[in-house]
């Protein structure tokens, strides 16, 4: 019948108008500044630097190997290596980044820096409320602004962070075992060298490797 569709349509909009007052399920609007949806675990936007422990400066995992700086497609990472070495969270002396800046106005959130980092030192953040009135300085994040604790990483990406922790722990066990073995070997070699002093240079090598894997890529970076 002519006009039937119009009446049906009017009934539908009336149902919506009344229903939106009756059932809250109909209103899908999230009133953003006051309430917000939980972010999905896979969400990401800009990178941050993970640190272990409580002191961000001491605990930075980054050893300034500069792989991420070189791999970054839009070249938004700026790193200066330190001249000296400082003990990291595990007490081993490491080079650290004297300057680590990321220009988030340039960053394209590709996550390549995260993928290439051998130290699990750089990860993707989920913080999206980054607007600022300073167009240049406000969007150039320095070391201090980038450093976030491992606990924070666990909060935003729990599954990924646990995997990373397990991997790091396994590596540490391996490294410790290797170091121990190397130390034992070195001691044995030293003992042997004491008997026959010729191959002393060869014995020195495993000692350097004992610091790996932490130190190995650093050589590649150079």
């Amino acid at each position: 019948m002519l006009g039937e569709g119009i009446l049906k349509g009017l009934a539908e909009t009336a149902r919506n108008a009344v229903g939106s007052f009756v059932s809250k399920d109909r209103l899908t609007t999230v009133e953003y500044p006051e309430e917000r949806l939980p972010l999905p675990e896979a969400s990401r936007n800009f990178p941050f630097l993970v640190y272990d422990g409580t002191d961000w400066e001491k605990g930075l995992r980054c050893v300034a190997c500069q792989i991420c700086e070189k791999e970054c497609p839009p070249k938004c990472i700026y790193i200066d290596k330190s001249k000296d070495k400082k003990p990291d969270a595990f007490g081993r002396p490491q080079i650290y980044p004297a300057k680590f800046d990321i220009d988030i106005s340039v960053c394209m959130s590709c996550q390549i820096c995260v993928e290439v980092c051998p130290f699990e030192a750089i990860k993707m953040d989920t913080q999206y409320e980054l607007s600022t009135d300073d167009r240049f300085g406000g969007l150039l994040l320095d070391r201090k602004e980038l450093a976030k604790s491992n606990e924070y990483y666990h909060q935003i990406h729990p599954t990924e962070a646990s995997e990373v922790d397990a991997k790091l722990a396994a590596e540490k066990v391996k490294a410790d075992a290797k170091a121990k073995a190397a130390a034992g070997a070195a001691a044995a070699k030293a003992a042997a060298a004491a008997a026959a002093p010729k191959p002393a240079e060869a014995a020195a090598k495993p000692v350097v490797l004992a610091d790996a894997p932490a130190a190995k890529p650093q050589g590649e970076g150079d």
Binding site: I6, T13, G19, S20, T29
Partner: protein, 391 residues
């Protein structure tokens, strides 16, 4: 007490005018009424815009504006401040004078329409003998302002919007007039005051409104369709079709001039709703005789706001028509039906009192409606489109 409340605005006006010397009294009386109209309807406009935005939001399961003030009720004030402080841009090649005059002509014409609408018992600015004629002639001049705006902007979209608007307004002016003529035929008067008074009678407590007759019901539907098209409301909002014409004839308007167009459009809605109320819904008369004690102006404004709500409801429901559908609908359906309605009114008038005229008049309109549905608007010739490309 009841009659004092009913006439409170009239008495207030008389008291205020009485304070002045007798030479100034006629002019002051008119001026006071004009000021009242110029204040009340823009205030109603602000309220309606908020109501529309909230209502449309609810129809789409949204919240609507709720940021300014509690529940967003201060939104109209924020909008007003925004439109007043915005830069007023006139295109370089525009005809500056016409461009400036167009919104003024629209608002002035629309305000003039309120002069003859009876808003309550004894509450009409000018009680003319031919107030209906005055209303339609002034209403027709809004087309002029629309075309002024479209032509002077020197913009394709504006011009196309204006041409659409003029075509549409002229097409729907005819059914609008024809459906009103039905009421004039029964009442025998062009005066809106007399038309309302004729409807202010009751049988068994029920009013003699025109909408409660077969011809009046059909006429009211036609009137509502034509009025929606006259005021460029959705689904007949082709002149300002956002998706194809940016904003139609007021594309090149900004700031307060844009606000004036917006105001003019809503005032047009109010005036045409007021006219429809006076013609078909009994103007300021109460819907039941036992409600006689409620002031007449409450009924008038209540009915107008109800019509506005229906217009908002329709806007939230129907998609925009295509230009050919719009014209087909006007000339092939609404106009023939209004012409038939005139015959129906004549039958009603001359069949005398009794049940016979109810049956005959209802049957005529129903048969015509079904016939139109079965044949008139059927489109067998429209099939899948075939495209021919250039070689």
């Amino acid at each position: 007490m009841v009659s004092t409340l009913d006439q409170i605005f009239v008495l207030l006006k008389h008291w205020l005018v009485g304070l002045l010397p007798s030479v100034l009294q006629p002019a002051a009386g008119v001026l006071l009424s004009v000021v009242a109209i110029v204040c009340v309807f823009p205030a109603l406009f602000a309220l309606t815009v908020l109501l529309e935005r909230k209502g449309l939001g609810r129809m789409q399961n949204r919240l609507g504006p709720n940021r300014v003030g509690p529940f967003g009720i201060l939104q109209p004030i924020a909008d007003a401040i925004k439109s007043l402080t915005k830069e007023d841009i006139v295109p370089l090649r525009a005809d500056a004078l016409i461009h400036f005059l167009a919104p003024l002509v629209l608002v002035v014409a629309v305000f003039l329409e309120f002069a003859v609408v009876p808003m309550g018992r004894n509450m009409v600015l000018v009680d003319m003998d031919a107030s209906l004629l005055f209303f339609f002639s002034i209403g027709a001049s809004t087309e002029l302002s629309v075309f002024m705006a479209g032509w002077s902007s020197r913009n394709k979209y504006s011009l196309m919007g204006a041409m659409r608007a003029v075509a549409q307004m002229i097409s729907y002016e005819v059914p609008l007039l024809m459906s009103s003529v039905a009421v004039v035929m029964i009442t025998g008067s062009l005066s809106l005051v007399k038309i309302v008074e004729a409807q202010n009678q009751y049988t068994y407590g029920l009013p003699h409104w025109n909408i409660f007759t077969p011809w009046g019901c059909a006429g009211f539907v036609m009137f509502a369709i034509a009025a929606t098209a006259e005021t460029n409301r959705s689904p007949f909002d082709l002149p300002e079709g956002e998706s194809e014409l940016v904003a139609g004839y007021f594309t090149e308007y900004s700031g307060f001039k844009f606000a004036l167009f917006f105001l003019g459009e809503y005032l047009g809605m109010f005036s045409i709703s007021g006219l429809g109320t006076a013609l078909f819904l009994g103007g300021w008369s109460a819907p039941f005789s036992f409600l006689w004690w409620v002031p007449s102006w409450i009924w008038f404004f209540g009915k107008v706001m109800l019509s506005i709500c229906v217009l908002i409801w329709v806007r939230g429901t129907l998609p925009r028509l295509r230009q050919d559908q719009l014209m087909n609908f006007a000339w092939k359906f609404v106009l023939p039906m209004t012409l038939l309605n005139l015959v129906d009114v004549a039958l009603w008038r001359f069949l005398g009192e009794g049940w016979l005229r109810w049956v005959v008049c209802s049957a005529v309109m129903l048969v015509a409606y079904v016939a139109a549905a079965l044949t008139g608007l059927r489109r067998d010739h429209i099939g899948p489109r075939s495209y021919r490309y250039a070689e």
